[in-house]
């Protein structure tokens, strides 16, 4: 159009562009449905119109893809939400500040608060946790707090959650940090009400305790009567009856030991065992145990010696220490047929180690890692094996551990004897003080948790 004036050209451009206005108006509200009419005449605007039409078509295509994606995402979210709600365990998710961001129905059911009531609140304040005595667990000791600060997973089953109505329930809780691109983004608290498990546990302990006590009455009668028959309290005993009556006495004694061990295990597992920790002389106690066991070593013609360094004051419960020594030295005697048993002590930092060395038949390496488990009997019962319940070393280990020490197999091989060892904290050492404090707390716990006991401590 060479002859047109500038004014005419301007109005021509305007009129051509006006055709686009309705399209832009619709696009501004998200409607890309109208197509552009491409004019017949071919001029500078044709390219622009075609371009815009192509753009509209591409936008339309992508929009419909997005809509589809959205629908399938919504489906997935609903699916995940349904799964989340269907998990039988309570789940509370928190963010990096321990604020509650998600909570499933079972969690709401157990705690009594709805998600709406707790959303955005700090879990430590929103869901209080208490110990057996009803004392609140300090915020910094809450599993959700420690998991957040340490980045480690925690499992806790020693505490109670407080419900909205202030009642409590024992809770088993697994706390796992939520990692997002390698960084902690929050905490996943998964928990369950374990009232029933706790009740069953207590029932089991009570049953074993009661059964053990009930078993002891007839056993005491058999033991007592047999000993009186043997002594001739009921008249002379024929020679041919001496052996069977002796065997009855021996078997009864074994049963009594077995019942005692079972009772001890039940106490250990029910955490109902008291440790009266005082400063005791290892060499004095060992000498005392030697006196009790001497008849056995004399009978077998084997040695029994003590090699002790001067400072041997340890912090221990005297009776439990006697039981540990009795058990380990008793075992050594049982499996030694020549040579003898030597007990020695050695200082080891805050501990004193006690070694029980024998020249007995030894233990094959296959059995080494089973030794301290319950009901493990490595050797068949022998005639001297009164206390062969398979519980001895298990009890020994738990006693040593409770007193702050440990017990281990130092070395043993078939035909080359055995060395068992245990350690106890030295009197006055830091560890000794710590253990003492711990037992003080446990003692008051024990009194609190069994208020129904009328002097029947089992």
């Amino acid at each position: 159009m060479p002859d047109t004036t500038l004014e005419e050209y301007k109005s021509y451009v305007k009129s051509r562009l006006e055709a686009l206005m309705p399209i832009f108006a619709k696009a501004s509200i998200g409607d890309f449905s109208s197509n552009i009419e491409i004019p017949d005449e071919d001029d500078e605007f044709t390219q622009l119109f075609v371009g815009i039409q192509v753009m509209i078509e591409i936008i339309n295509k992508q929009l419909s893809e997005l809509t589809q994606l959205n629908t399938s995402l919504e489906g997935k979210i609903t699916e995940l939400q349904t799964l989340f709600e269907s998990i039988g365990e309570g789940i509370v998710a928190t963010d990096i500040n321990n604020k509650i961001i998600m909570m499933n129905k079972p969690a709401q059911g157990m705690i009594g608060w709805s998600f709406e009531e707790l959303e955005g609140k700090n879990i430590v304040e929103a869901i209080p946790m208490v110990d057996e005595k009803g004392v609140a667990v300090p915020a910094t000791q809450r599993p959700s707090y420690t998991a957040l600060t340490s980045g480690k997973k925690y499992i806790d089953k020693n505490h109670f959650y407080v419900r909205k109505d202030k009642t409590t329930f024992p809770v088993l809780k697994t706390v796992t940090p939520i990692l997002l691109h390698g960084k902690i983004a929050g905490i996943m608290n998964v928990f369950r009400d374990i009232t029933q498990e706790k009740e069953l546990e207590a029932l089991k302990d009570d049953f074993i305790s009661l059964a053990s006590h009930e078993l002891r009455t007839p056993l005491s009668a058999i033991k007592g009567l047999v000993s009186m028959v043997q002594k001739g309290d009921y008249g002379p005993v024929n020679d041919n009856l001496e052996k069977p009556i002796g065997d009855i006495a021996f078997s009864t004694e074994r049963l009594i030991y077995l019942v005692r061990d079972l009772l001890n295990v039940s106490r250990i597992e029910g955490k109902r065992i008291l440790f009266n920790l005082t400063d005791v002389s290892l060499s004095d106690i060992t000498t005392k145990v030697f006196e009790q066991l001497r008849p056995l070593t004399l009978k077998k013609r084997i040695g029994l010696d003590l090699k002790s360094e001067s400072a041997t004051l340890v912090q221990a419960d005297k009776d439990k220490l006697i039981e540990i020594l009795n058990n380990l030295i008793g075992n050594a005697i049982k499996f030694t047929y020549e040579g003898g048993i030597t007990v020695s002590t050695k200082e080891d930092g805050e501990f004193i180690n006690v070694y029980i060395e024998d020249t007995g038949i030894g233990i094959s390496p296959d059995h080494h890692d089973k030794l301290f488990k319950k009901f493990q009997k490595i050797h068949a019962a022998t005639a001297l094996d009164i206390s062969g319940s398979g519980l001895g070393l298990y009890i020994v280990r738990s006693y040593a551990k409770s007193m702050g020490g440990k017990v281990w197999l130092e070395r043993s091989a078939p035909g080359q004897g055995t060395v068992f060892a245990f350690s106890l904290p030295k009197s006055g050492s830091l560890i000794a003080e710590e253990i003492k404090k711990k037992h003080g707390a446990a003692l008051s716990n024990l009194r609190m948790t069994r208020p129904g006991d009328k002097g029947l401590q089992v």
Binding site: H213, L225, S227, M228, R267, L274, G455, L456, Q457
Partner: protein, 126 residues
């Protein structure tokens, strides 16, 4: 010889203990529950009582508490003989005034007689 009252609800055990103590020269009488035990303490007037814990009617602990608050009986020495061996028990009964705490299944009757004698002698010396 000393007059002894055994309070024990198991018929076989009580007969066994009775024979053992009679052999050792004690003058023995028996009671089968806590109530009867308290009665016989007043009627038989023993020098010494051997007392079980788990019994029908009055338990050993209740008997012990009654004895210690009874003007007539409070100085009567009482030895607990039971199969309950929890350490808390031992302490509780000794705190309540028992002069000894013995475990049935750990002692043969002759050993029991010796222990009772030992505890009684020690008590008399006080």
């Amino acid at each position: 010889m000393a007059r002894l009252l055994i309070v024990e609800d198991d018929l076989i055990l009580i007969q066994m203990y009775e024979i053992a103590f009679k052999h050792a020269g004690y003058e023995v009488t028996t009671a089968f529950d806590g109530d009867q035990g308290l009665e016989k303490m007043k009627s038989f007037k023993p020098d010494l009582v051997v007392l079980d814990i788990l019994m029908p009617k009055l338990s050993g602990l209740e008997v012990l508490q009654k004895v210690k608050t009874d003007e007539e009986l409070k100085n009567l020495p009482i030895i607990i003989l039971t199969n309950l061996d929890g350490e808390k028990n031992v302490k509780e009964y000794l705190d309540q005034g028992a002069i000894g705490y013995l475990i049935k299944s750990e002692l043969n009757p002759d050993e029991l007689v010796a222990k009772v004698k030992q505890l009684y002698e020690a008590y008399k010396k006080q």
